[in-house]
Point group: C2
Chain length 300, copies 2
């Protein structure tokens, strides 16, 4: 199966991604092989609120990387929200201009709603695209919630897309997203406030200091519809690839992935024990505290 | 110690909360006792973006519950963001009007940045306030990120505060918050668009259907500065208390808390084994996949 992926065939990859998305238990034993078959493709998370023109920008980035001769993989991750689902799917139609390109592989993936579910699924799917030789592998996600932070920790490089007209209020909401940004794109650069918004963001990021141990992320101005600034954004993303692969950064990411794996595994095992139902019931009746309950389940 | 809490003394409670916040390991053995000493205080999460007037509303709610003869506990949970910190502290000054009231206990808690850290700390701190006889126990949090969703799962009832002027763009960003809402307050009800915003939210919530198995949350209009609608909001929160304590809801919350406990515990144990560093290094060098790494660590 991994050989078929390595040969660049689309159908085995599509089938594997379906199994990954469905949480098929036969995927688990493939992981060591899949991981070992990785070809070092750059995993890039792209996130930002609806209205920032993110999907158009992703489409423009795909075009730029294709001109550079790269095979591009795209995972469009839908959060589990029933409120935003329709809007997101509509938005992604813009990416369809690359649908006929054999060297672009696009896949929409739904979250299973479970804590950790989206991160685990995305991580394994990215490994599959890597084994199939795509580079970069773009993980596109919508919104400003838990899933974005989780997805950011799967990606080696996280791009946050903004739009200039977003007011102070929205800026504050998005502060959480800026924390995870390695590169920021102020899109819709042809609108009046774009350069000012970029300057404000740079000032905000440079004075944040203190608790932020690292270099502030570069703030790029792009106009996805005309293509202005898209090549420079692709360059900034490529440049971050090196920083992301420095031992300390790689180790931090690995530690987080293993922690996440431990959480998923411990929960999976506990849920399948005989004691799960009665233990949870005892906590619900307040006869047992959650930490002691967890300890008992883990020690079985 | 639990006896001192039960006697309603403030200093032992303040000291215990400091130990909880610092992650002091001597807190762990107290948990069964602390949990057993719970008096059934209603844990209410209150969240929403900066600019929604949330802190003023919390202050008005405290006043309302004081008039009803209740002792009110407040945990103001700061997310780890360096970008929003200043704004949040400034915002909370509005709650200080209750600082001299002996029957209001307010405490600001910082997150440790660790995944799960904020939820675990908040859960234990709420248990301490419960043992000390506060009811309701308000957990106030800012923003629209991972921590809010986590905090929502600690609370029995989650109130999301909105402001009427927030546009479509912001609505979409906040969809993630609406998913966790048990009660919604459209604050700044004296502004022109307030009633229209409330109607829009009600329509959005009632048509979301399908994937949402439960009753849509009530949407209340409040004006925190004048007090209009605050008593009705307090009533809506009280009403949800019963729903939150139905066996299915209590069980769901307990299952999530135990899962979270399992995740924290599995990670804590793995991190302290000799194999942790070398295993994470192997994942960072891509010699081992994260899931197999987690399995090995868990099986030691």
């Amino acid at each position: 199966m991994v050989d078929e992926l390595a040969a660049g065939e689309r159908r085995p990859l599509a089938r594997l991604l379906t199994r990954i998305e469905n949480g098929d238990p036969t995927v688990r034993p493939l992981l060591p092989q899949l991981f070992a078959a990785g070809r070092g493709g750059h995993v890039v998370g792209i996130t930002g609120p609806p209205g920032s023109g993110k999907s158009t920008l992703v489409s423009a980035l795909i075009g730029e990387w294709r001109r550079r001769g790269r095979r591009v993989g795209v995972l469009a991750v839908d959060p589990s929200s029933p409120y935003t689902r329709g809007a997101i799917l509509g938005d992604r139609i813009r990416m369809m201009e690359h649908a006929a390109d054999r060297d672009v592989f696009m896949r929409s993936m739904a979250s299973r709603g479970e804590l950790g579910g989206i991160a685990a699924t995305t991580w394994i799917a990215a490994a599959a695209l890597d084994a199939a030789g795509y580079d970069p592998i773009l993980i596109e996600t919508v919104g400003a919630g838990q899933s974005e932070v989780e997805v950011a920790r799967v990606a080696e490089t996280t791009v946050v897309v903004e739009a200039p007209e977003m007011g102070d209020e929205v800026q504050a909401i998005k502060a959480g997203l800026l924390e995870v940004a390695d590169v920021i794109a102020v899109n819709k650069g042809d609108r009046p406030g774009a350069d000012r918004a970029a300057r404000q963001l740079r000032a905000m990021l440079s004075t944040a200091g203190g608790r932020v141990a690292r270099q502030p992320p570069p703030v790029m101005v792009t106009t996805a519809t005309s293509g202005d600034g898209v090549a420079a954004l692709a360059d900034a993303i490529e440049k971050h690839r090196e920083a992301a692969r420095e031992p300390i950064a790689a180790r931090d990411r690995a530690a987080h992935q293993v922690r996440r794996g431990l959480a998923d595994l411990a929960a999976q095992r506990a849920v399948t024990t005989d004691a799960w139902e009665s233990t949870v019931d005892a906590v619900a009746r307040r006869e047992l505290d959650p930490m002691t309950a967890a300890e008992r389940l883990l020690d079985r």
